[in-house]
């Protein structure tokens, strides 16, 4: 008979009880203290403020907004702004990172040197400094009257003006769905036809899937366009200012560029690591079969490198999404800035911060979940691999 305190199971159970008990006590104490302090300051806690109108305005929104709109609408706008900035930033960072990362693994000495210099410089300067730098550059671009123009886009100190589709909000939202499909479809098609078709044919099918989804999105836009208006609204000079089209403010551009360039330097290292992880043996085998260097890259190096990169890349993406909170530094109304303004104006600090945390948790956990699914789907099968 073992003494009760020396029994491993009893000990573990006691430790669990102690741990859970202290945690519960800590949370309870926090709630009690917060309630008492709030009551002393005469602040009513609760989420009723969400339905009051804010009385202030935001500088950038993809959805229609006025100062009469309630707080919850502003939070939504903040989340959408964060997602918009995040997705553009991640996309650009991935492009930059891929190019620089490939340069770093290249056999060309000059390309390697350039890649290394890029990473050394931009990885070691704080993101906030880079955001300020690009903001300064962009706000010193020419005035609207002397705008740089290319393909209907205008680049000025007041922002980047893009041609915008003359489309209703519902159709706009609907058109986003096929875009998601364009990402999901090739993955699904790649899996279902895996055994019956070799890589080349799969690629054609996947590209066809993407094209179909994009065509679907364009079709929705055409059907949903506003009556008596051309499909695209081009920005044009009216008086001293530009009218029409979609204005991307300098704050947004500065952040997107900063995230692209800073994030790109990190992603470049991930890309480089991914390609380094590809077995030399597999590459030699592909070469010995007579495959051209380009085919070796697309059929062997890239698919294997991607598998090595994805988990770390997901980590980096989550990190970069959080970096969008840098918006407050240059005045971009992202989720964090909306929350900060809400706290200033309404005094509902705990609730607003709670919403902020829940929002970022939702975004980043969803992102992580998607990446975990992809990882699992493309994981190499079997445990007998060597070399």
């Amino acid at each position: 008979m073992i003494s009760l305190l020396r029994n491993q199971k009893v000990r573990n159970a006691l430790l669990q009880v102690f741990y859970v008990g202290s945690l519960a006590a800590l949370v309870l104490a926090g709630v009690v203290i917060a309630r008492r302090n709030l009551a002393e300051q005469g602040i009513t806690s609760g989420f009723d403020f969400l339905y009051k109108s804010t009385g202030w305005d935001v500088s950038f929104s993809l959805l229609p907004v006025t100062a009469n709109d309630p707080y919850w609408w502003f939070f939504l706008i903040g989340i959408i702004n964060t997602l918009f900035l995040g997705s553009i930033g991640l996309l650009l960072a991935t492009v930059v990172g891929t190019v620089v990362g490939l340069a770093r693994t290249s056999s060309n000495e000059l390309a390697r040197l350039l890649g290394r210099t890029y990473v050394d410089i931009f990885r070691n300067i704080p993101l906030i400094l880079q955001a300020f730098f690009w903001y300064a550059i962009i706000t010193h671009l020419p005035t609207p009257r002397a705008a740089h123009e290319a393909w209907g886009m205008l680049l000025t100190s007041r922002g980047l003006y893009l041609p915008a589709p003359n489309v209703g909000g519902v159709a706009m939202a609907l058109a986003i769905l096929p875009l998601f499909a364009a990402v999901a479809l090739p993955v699904w098609l790649g899996r279902t036809s895996r055994l019956s078709r070799p890589v080349g044919e799969r690629l054609v099918i996947q590209l066809a899937g993407i094209a179909a989804a994009l065509a679907c999105a364009v079709l929705i836009l055409i059907v949903g366009r506003l009556p008596d208006a051309p499909l695209l609204d081009f920005p044009a000079l009216q008086g001293l200012n530009l009218k029409g089209g979609l204005r991307i403010p300098p704050e947004f551009s500065a952040l997107a560029v900063a995230i692209a360039i800073y994030g790109g330097s990190y992603i470049a290292e991930i890309v480089r690591g991914g390609f380094k992880a590809v077995g030399k043996g597999q590459v030699e085998a592909a070469l010995s079969l007579g495959l051209s260097p380009w085919r070796v890259f697309t059929l062997v190096k890239l698919p294997l490198a991607l598998r090595a990169m994805l988990p770390i890349l997901a980590n980096q993406y989550v990190w970069l999404i959080k970096a969008t909170t840098m918006g407050i530094a240059v005045g971009f109304t992202d989720f964090f800035m909306i929350v900060a303004l809400t706290i200033n104006h309404s005094g509902q600090t705990l609730e607003a911060i709670g919403i902020l945390m829940a929002g970022f948790l939702t975004i980043n956990l969803s992102l992580a979940a998607v990446f975990n699914r992809i990882n699992k789907a493309i994981a190499l099968k079997g445990n007998q691999l060597r070399g």
């Binding site: 895996r194 085919r295 294997l304 190499l380």
Partner: protein
């Protein structure tokens, strides 16, 4: 080495030199392999045997001398390199299968892309060769799901699917458990009996005795002994060869 001048040689290596930095890996190597000949290359590790056969399909670049494969000189001409790689299959010590493709895809990919074979034909060829290496039932599995011996047989099938004229084997059984060595060697013996030109780097002396037309012993980057198997195993001239043989055959 009087066979160097014969016109129909599958592989002709003349005065081959190879350096890694300042290390002289191959010293003035001369070797001629006729079509249909089976050569076994052995020697202590670091003697340059792998380097030599890797030079034959340009996985290593030689620094001096000439290599002619099936009448084409192996030089900086990319067309020549591609042409030679199409006709020279290679099997590696660590199999080097593509782990993200099924066994079937591993076998179909090169014929479809390099030889531009239609899918149905490539698949039929792949299944035929998988049958030949006795694993047709594994076609839809992934390499990681197979044992080492099975993987190496797939690797042989993958190389054969390109229907090469010459096969290079770089220590194909060195990474395998003893019971798996036999299944791979069986496939290689069958291949040899069908007239394939083979250059095998291996320490399987039983295989050498049974299959090889000539056994080559390398040491210090040089070919020090070259003889038919009986002569090689019974009356080799070189002291270093005798010492090596006593080590591999001694127990």
């Amino acid at each position: 080495m009087n066979s160097t001048q014969s016109p129909g040689a599958a592989v002709r290596i003349e005065n081959l030199d190879k350096y890694y930095g300042t290390f002289h890996a191959l010293r003035n190597v001369n070797l001629s392999v006729e079509r249909g000949e089976k050569i076994v290359v052995c020697g202590p590790s670091g003697s340059g045997k792998s380097t030599m056969i890797r030079c034959i399909n340009r996985l290593e670049q030689h620094n001096g001398g000439r290599i002619t494969v099936l009448g084409t000189e192996l030089n900086d001409d990319v067309g020549n390199i591609d042409g030679i790689r199409r006709e020279v299959g290679m099997v590696f010590q660590h199999f080097n299968l593509f782990p993200h493709m099924t066994v079937l895809e591993n076998c179909m990919i090169a014929p479809m892309i390099v030889r531009k074979r239609p899918r149905a034909e490539a698949e039929a060829t792949a299944r035929r060769y998988l049958e030949k290496v006795r694993i047709p039932e594994q076609a839809t599995k992934f390499p990681g799901q197979l044992s080492g011996g099975q993987q190496q047989r797939v690797a042989i099938a993958r190389a054969l699917c390109m229907q090469p004229q010459i096969m290079l084997f770089d220590e194909p059984t060195s990474a395998l458990d003893p019971e798996m060595i036999a299944e791979v060697l069986d496939v290689m013996v069958t291949l040899a009996s069908e007239g394939m030109t083979m250059i095998c780097v291996t320490h399987e002396m039983g295989f050498a005795r049974r299959v090889a037309d000539r056994v080559i012993f390398m040491d210090g980057g040089e070919i020090v002994e070259e003889a038919p198997p009986e002569e090689f195993f019974t009356s080799c001239r070189n002291e270093r060869t005798r010492q090596f043989l006593s080590q591999v055959l001694g127990h």
